[in-house]
């Protein structure tokens, strides 16, 4: 399996090299140039500095979503009133084209950190909330009936049955929320004000330094993919699949 994975990467990078050398467009650099640019950016510290800036709104947004989003999702799952009031909002948010909505944040919250954190929240929250909600709602009724037949209280029902049962889906929601958060922060940094990774992409695009521009984009894809993969492994360890 691992060999095939390496072969798949080799094929992809090989094709990239070929198309870059062909060239498809003067603005499309071969893989080798992009890789060298990536090494240069890591060495001179520009990439590290950019990630420190990008990580700030991303982490803030995800932590806020994790605390408030999970609480909200659980609330929705446990209370019909909260569900009735907020489910449509999250369904609409999930379907809305965020790239069109995020620039509107600047009209309300300006161009600073708040808007970027909100962009992350707008993309990540629906996934986190909906997964927590579904986790609660999917509790097997037979377990609940068992709890009631043993004269368990509502609190015991929630703490001992509903929440442990929902935990796996809540964690999946967090992982998917982080994936959406990556999308949100890149859109925000490209559309609101160029900072961090967004600044590197737009600056290298404006100076036609395409290898560095592609290297930045490839790095954010790699960082997102690796972090999600690690989270998935943690998830599998904590909640092994049946």
């Amino acid at each position: 399996m691992r060999r095939w994975q390496i072969a798949s990467f080799a094929l992809f990078f090989g094709l990239w090299e070929l198309t870059g050398r062909w060239p498809v467009s003067p603005a499309f650099p071969p893989f080798s140039n992009t890789f060298l640019a990536l090494i240069e950016m890591i060495r001179d510290g520009t990439l590290g500095k950019a990630y420190l800036i990008t990580a700030q709104p991303l982490a803030l947004g995800i932590v806020l979503c994790a605390v408030a989003g999970i609480a909200f999702g659980i609330g929705m799952g446990l209370s019909r009133a909260i569900e009735w009031l907020s489910l449509p909002v999250f369904i609409i948010l999930q379907a809305a084209p965020m790239a069109a909505i995020i620039p509107l944040l600047t009209y309300m919250y300006g161009i600073g950190l708040t808007s970027k954190v909100l962009a992350v929240i707008m993309l990540a929250a629906p996934v986190i909330v909906m997964n927590s909600y579904k986790g609660i709602r999917n509790t097997p009724p037979s377990l609940l009936q068992m709890c009631r037949s043993f004269q368990g209280t509502r609190v015991q029902e929630v703490v001992k049955i509903v929440l442990p049962h929902a935990a796996a889906l809540v964690f999946t929601g967090l992982r998917l929320g982080l994936a959406m958060g990556f999308i949100g922060i890149v859109i925000a940094e490209l559309l609101i004000t160029p900072t961090g990774i967004g600044d590197l992409i737009s600056y290298h695009s404006s100076t036609a330094d395409y290898p560095k521009m592609f290297a930045t984009i490839a790095s954010i894809v790699a960082v997102a993919a690796v972090s999600l993969h690690l989270l998935q492994r943690v998830e599998l360890r904590l909640f092994p699949r049946d």
């Binding site: 467009s25 003067p26 603005a27 600047t106 009209y107 300006g110 161009i111 600073g112 004000t193 160029p194 900072t195 600044d199 737009s202 600056y203 695009s205 404006s206 100076t207 036609a208 330094d209």
Partner: protein, 319 residues
């Protein structure tokens, strides 16, 4: 009959080629506004002379530049000196539309002059942009250092952010400086600026395109220079010209008054060149954009960035 068909085919092919040669695909990295009126007027007049200029608005200058690099557009507008220096396709500027005219603005509740900006945060258009270069130049001149420079694309966005108090010091174009002073009144001060002369908007194209299509490009350049000369003679002429040629018909009526104001201010600042900029503009640009860090090469040469033949051809007809 066969001969007739063959002759018809040749004619159709020639006409097709001639049409293709006289259509210039123009990439604009912005939405059309008041400042584009001279361009629109020149395009209308060039069309009457058989050179159609098809203007497409892109989201920003970078995408417009990429369209030219990739050959999807013939002519681009802007000052992408850094891109021109790096990209492996020879691209050259060939005429200057107007030179830089920007206004550093501060919220006077916090700052009164340049010295007060020492150690403070400012906002400019983008990294490596002309606006950043001007602000850095001024910092050097006044012996100050900014704490941080944030990048906020769009003069309009920066003007709104100033009004909301999100930023306290920035640099704006003429239209948005006027908007800010109109809306915010006495709350804002325009700081004095030294003599900065460099292109704000110039036209560029692939060198092979310029060489192959010099006739069509010269006609277009001739019309651009002609319009600039008319504006310099009478800044109000654009109002009449807009009406006569039916330009920017969907411009909101409340902006009508901004047209003469913009052109009067521009003429007073001497931003519209009567000679298409040419060698002088090229020299000032190389100096300014080297200082701003856009041009990295030491002792850059004019011929590496500018191709002056179409402009010379156009000027010889205008004399």
């Amino acid at each position: 009959m066969k001969r007739f068909i063959a002759a018809f085919a040749v004619l159709a092919l020639t006409a097709g080629t001639a049409f293709a040669q006289t259509k210039i695909k123009y990439a604009l990295g912005d939405v059309l506004g008041i400042d584009d009126l001279p361009l629109l007027a020149a395009a209308e007049r060039a069309k009457k002379r058989g050179v159609e200029v098809e203007i497409t608005s892109f989201k920003n200058e970078d995408i417009a530049t990429q369209a030219v690099i990739n050959g999807q557009a013939d002519v681009g507008q802007g000052t992408p000196y850094a891109a021109l220096e790096k990209v492996n396709v020879p691209i050259r500027f060939f005429v200057q539309l107007w030179s830089l005219q920007f206004f550093p603005v501060v919220a006077n509740e916090h700052y009164k002059g340049w010295k007060d900006l020492d150690g403070q945060e400012i906002a400019v258009q983008g990294r490596g942009s002309g606006t950043e270069a001007i602000m850095l130049l001024m910092a050097k001149e006044h012996g100050i250092k900014y704490k941080n420079i944030s990048y906020v694309p769009g003069s309009q966005v920066r003007a709104l952010a100033m009004l909301k108090g999100n930023i306290r010091a920035t640099i704006l174009d003429s239209t948005n400086k006027n908007f800010l002073l109109k809306e915010g009144g006495a709350k804002f001060t325009v700081l004095p600026l030294g003599n900065v002369k460099a292109s704000d908007e110039a036209l560029f194209a692939r060198l092979d395109y310029l060489q192959k299509n010099q006739a069509a490009i010269s006609v277009f350049v001739e019309e651009l220079v002609r319009v600039n000369r008319e504006i310099n003679k009478d800044p109000n002429s654009m109002v009449a010209l807009r009406k006569q040629l039916g330009l920017l018909k969907d411009l909101p009526a409340k902006l009508d008054d901004d047209i003469p104001t913009y052109f009067k201010e521009g003429v007073a600042g001497g931003i519209f060149p009567n000679d298409g900029g040419g060698e002088n503009a090229a020299k000032s640009d190389l100096e300014f954009y080297a200082l701003s860090g856009s041009i990295k090469k030491e002792n850059p040469k004019i011929e590496d960035f500018w191709h002056l033949a179409p402009l010379k051809a156009a000027l010889s007809k205008l004399k």
